[in-house]
């Protein structure tokens, strides 16, 4: 569903390409971790995957379409199949958490009654039931990340791309979130998580077959068994 062929990306300042020679295929139902030192380009790679950035070289195909041939509206429609957790979770600060989480449904005109049930189940699972009516600026750091994850998965998208989703969350809650993603993966969804948390990767590996990708030296490599 997402294919990268020799993709390179550069933000255009001195220092040249940030990522180079990246060839990667995200098959349906696969589970990936993405690691690498801070500033290696994990967020950049995820942004390429959901069309927020366009490769400076190489080919990137999303569901068979070349990203360069897509209009902004095409990308908007495509985003409805991709759930994204941003590293700096952003919300509509004037709408309560529940509405923010349901935003993807609203935008694609799908707010039905079974979706409402779905929403409250999801809020319960990420532990935000009590804060459903709060405004996003009133959330704690970890609560924001949980709300962002809930928003990313509410449409049961075909791919979930999560950027450091547990950076501000305690271990128990991280486990719950991981469980949610593992469940989605078992339903055939593709998952990719960028993280520094090696413990999280270990925990996942005991539950699903996860590939660990590592960005080092501007390239993406399969990480060894040292994890």
């Amino acid at each position: 569903m997402i294919e990268l062929e020799n993709v390179a990306y550069s933000y255009g300042y001195a220092g040249g390409e940030l990522l180079t020679e990246i060839s990667l295929k995200l098959a349906p139902g696969s589970f990936h971790f993405l690691t690498g030192p801070s500033g290696a380009g994990k967020t950049t790679l995820l942004k390429l995957l959901y069309g927020a950035l366009v490769p400076t070289a190489g080919h990137l195909r999303l569901w068979g379409q070349d990203i360069r041939a897509m209009s902004r509206d095409d990308i908007a429609i495509l985003r409805r199949k991709v759930g994204v957790v941003h590293q700096d979770c952003r919300f509509l600060d004037h709408l309560p958490v529940a509405e923010n989480v349901a935003l993807p449904l609203t935008v694609s005109h799908q707010g039905g009654p079974d979706q409402a049930q779905n929403l409250s189940d999801l809020l319960g699972w990420v532990g935000l039931t009590a804060r459903a009516d709060a405004l996003p600026p009133e959330l704690s750091g970890g609560e924001r990340q949980r709300a962002a994850l809930a928003r990313a998965v509410i449409m049961s998208p075909e791919i979930v791309l999560a950027d450091e989703p547990t950076g501000n969350i305690d271990w128990e809650m991280s486990q719950r979130l991981l469980h949610l993603l593992v469940e989605l993966n078992r339903m055939g969804k593709t998952i990719m998580i960028a993280t520094h948390d090696l413990q999280l990767i270990r925990a996942a590996k005991s539950q699903v077959q996860a590939r660990v990708l590592r960005i080092s030296n501007r390239r993406v490599q399969l990480a060894g068994a040292d994890l």
């Binding site: 902004r72 908007a76 409805r80 941003h86 709408l95 935003l103 005109h109 707010g111």
Partner: protein
Amino acid sequence: MRALHAALAFLIGDPQADRMVPPAGFTVTLTVFTSAAMAFLAVFALALSLASGRLAERWGDDLAKSATIRISAPADQIEDQTRAALRVLETTPGVAEARALSDEDQRVLLEPWFGPDLPVDQLPIPRLIEVIAEGDGYDATGLRLRLQAEVPGAVLDDHAAWRRPLVEAAGRLRALGWLAILLIGGATGAMITLAANAALAANAQVIAVMRLVGARDNYIAGAFVRRFTLRAAAGALGGTVLGVLTLVILPRGGGDDETGVLTGLGLSGLQWGWTLVIPPLAAAVAFLATRAAARRSLQRLS
């Protein structure tokens, strides 16, 4: 029919989409206030223009009947000279009509000076010719020269000519009013554009979030454009109503004489209809300005 339908759909909008734009904020208040203030000023400029327009017309009409020619000559020559002067006037461009006054007419004219009992027929008083101009009027200097040559006893007295600059002044005032309206319209457009841009810049996060969850450009832009257009229209409506009320309340002088129009600065009859144009015009300006601003912002933030 389709345009009406589109306008209705626009006015009703998509309540879901509208919720995504933060409801209040200073840029929104600014838009309402700006369009209200500008509409208020526009009403005044409009009143000024229309009032000066009427003034220019009336004074212009008066100007047309503004000149007399006086012929003083020995009693036996006076009839000949009068005929000669009338012939000259017939061939003068810009003169619509020329008429020698009868004794009775002259008596009425002189009454203020001598009272009603003046023995006009016994006095060596001159003969008067009333000249009615048309269009832009005649060339007074040229006419004087011709009369001097052909009718030695004739003197042209365009005693109301001093009003001509007044008529011109009224015309200029009217032009100034329209210029002010144009300026106000342009300034309003620019201010609403800037306010919309400021709002869009302040809501960069809203746009980013909407993009992230798969909202299309039209959906995002629509919400902003609708909000700004409706606010601008509401503001303009308020400003217009206030302006009209002020005009109505404003003390008016002279009544219905020729100067009353300027004194009262009011609008009359159908002219009030012009003010109805202001709010939809402001809405249209706001619509175009905001749409352009939204498109540019969305392009930039892509």
